[in-house]
Symmetry: C2
Subunit: 352 residues, 2 copies
């Protein structure tokens, strides 16, 4: 064999070895990812009810209906806007009558995949969250159940909508059923993403850069908290394990987190680990929206949680990976329902 051919054969063999090594690495990464994360499952959307369809449709209408709130000018969708992937682009939400909310509005997308509700875990379930929101002074302003159901009657919500959703109840128009319906709707708001296709075995669903970012995300230690179907949302963690968070984020005021709920000093500065699904679409970041961009948020996390000063390159890779967690907006969220068209408050004409 002439020297040249031999040389070429060697290069080819090295190439094959390199390629095989890369393929093995890719396969190992996928296997590792499949152990850490779970794809979104349609099962999460189940309302667990014989009248799921009717409940979901009722819940969708209620979610978009400002007539639920005291001045009839804010709905769930005011702070959880489709245009911002279920958030409001604000550091902290602004409630009814311009009342400030103490924390950032988390997205309603994929809430069915989360085990903990709210930043401080002070809600027992999604149903509990909605029920409390519907009478909260900040998010609703309505004083009691009667004020809300009276408004729904005037607004043209025929009791038949509630009757269809809750057929076995003699008086179905209650806060509890409003909560049941809106929760049933919210559970349908799943956004499967390229990362889910990857977890299902399609390696090409992620670009090489995104896979590099995934490897960095795993190896840096982010997955200690950001794991499971929500890529977060399943556990509590102190914000600022290594360094006080507010010294880096500039947060003001300093939120004591879950300690204010449990009264346990061990819960000082503890919050729910945020789900990272659609995180690229939902700035600003953290419980108080104190950080504006995703690269900065990634760096803050690495530094205050893990004591790692991430390079710009590693940060960039992780951001590319995080963008693979963006799914399409569900059609029943992107498109507003046509609501019963009754007016809220109006004087009646005289003498007709």
């Amino acid at each position: 064999m002439p020297k040249l051919y031999l040389y070429a054969a060697c290069i080819s063999a090295s190439f094959t070895i390199l390629l095989t090594a890369a393929a093995a690495q890719d396969a190992a990464l996928l296997k590792q990812a499949q152990e850490i994360f779970q794809p979104l499952s349609e099962d999460l959307a189940s309302a667990g009810s014989d009248n799921a369809r009717e409940r979901i449709e009722l819940g969708r209408s209620l979610f978009f209906d400002p007539r639920l709130t005291i001045d009839a000018n804010m709905s769930c969708s005011s702070c959880h806007q489709p245009a911002f992937y279920g958030t409001d682009a604000l550091p902290r939400a602004i409630g009814v009558k311009q009342r400030p909310h103490p924390r950032n509005a988390p997205t309603v997308l994929n809430t069915g995949a989360l085990q903990i509700v709210h930043w401080r875990g002070d809600r027992e379930s999604l149903e509990d969250q909605v029920a409390k929101a519907v009478t909260s002074p900040i998010t609703s302003g309505q004083p009691d159940e009667k004020a809300i159901t009276d408004r729904l009657c005037v607004s043209g919500y025929a009791s038949s909508l509630f009757a269809a959703a809750f057929p076995n109840e003699p008086r179905p128009m209650t806060i509890q059923n409003i909560a049941n319906a809106i929760s049933a709707y919210e559970r349908t708001l799943l956004t499967p993403s390229p990362f889910d296709a990857y977890l299902a075995g399609n390696q090409e669903a992620l670009s090489p850069a995104a896979r590099a970012g995934l490897a960095t995300f795993i190896n840096t230690g982010c997955v200690a908290c950001h794991n499971g179907a929500g890529v977060g949302g399943a556990m509590y963690q102190k914000f600022g394990v290594v360094e006080d968070y507010w010294k880096v984020t500039g947060s003001d005021p300093i939120d004591k987190g879950r300690a204010e709920v449990t009264k346990d000093p061990a819960d000082l500065y503890v919050f729910r680990v945020a789900s990272l699904r659609n995180v690229a679409m939902t700035p600003p970041y953290f419980h108080d929206g104190s950080v504006a961009t995703l690269p900065d948020a990634v760096k803050v996390m690495a530094r205050v949680q893990l004591g790692v000063n991430l390079s710009d390159a590693d940060t960039g890779d992780i951001v590319v990976f995080l963008k693979s967690l963006t799914g399409e907006l569900p059609a029943n969220f992107a498109t507003a329902p046509v609501l019963p068209s009754g007016a809220v408050v109006a004087r009646f004409p005289q003498g007709l």
Copy 2:
């Protein structure tokens, strides 16, 4: 011929005469309607620009973007909600910082078919309306152009979006171009309805009840003002020709209408004639939302404008006709755009 057959033949002949008479009446009604009204034309949606598509898309994003306003919590779509056919179901709109608007929010649907902008005609064009809304203390609260364009820059509106829509301008991000883009978008929001199909010659597009209502609508005199492509929106008229409007609607305060704009006593209590397109979907009614239901609004109009006390039956017929003016929501209105995801206001992390 036996008597029985002769009898049957007579009945049949009478029937034919009756049917022919009914058909002639139907044809006459259609002809009359075609003289009074015009169907919506796609020409109305024209933005009159070489970059119409880019302008419309930019305008759609801006329309739904709360970052245009002072606290970044209200957008055009807050008072012109898809879920309420471009209105807010309130008597009078509530603006930024909970500031009350003096009048009812009219729908943005089919505004391209209207010749007069705003209740009192105090805007020269749709462009003028948007430009003033973008800096109004009630609808925006932003002090000047710089505050608005700075916010759009921070919000991730790449100047390329503006550059694509206004390619011949060195500095395209201006209030005037925001107004041009939003107006271009609003002009596309046409809702052809069964009545348009009827005007095009398809009599079956209206039910017999709706046609009876149309005849009553014409014969009662409503069409003196409610005519043309907008079924209104083309002229001014005093509200309360026969009787002071507030004595019937209970309006408080009493709005002097266009007289406050022109300073002409002849314009006292004069308003733009409302377009009746989608009127069934947009209660409450009149410039101050003082009347809650469509049948009541029809009766008020007949009484104070025409001196007619409409029967419940005639009112019901007219309402059936008015429902034929409801079209489908345009897809680019019903479905929210995904907005550039930049956060509005956030402190920057320290020392990264």
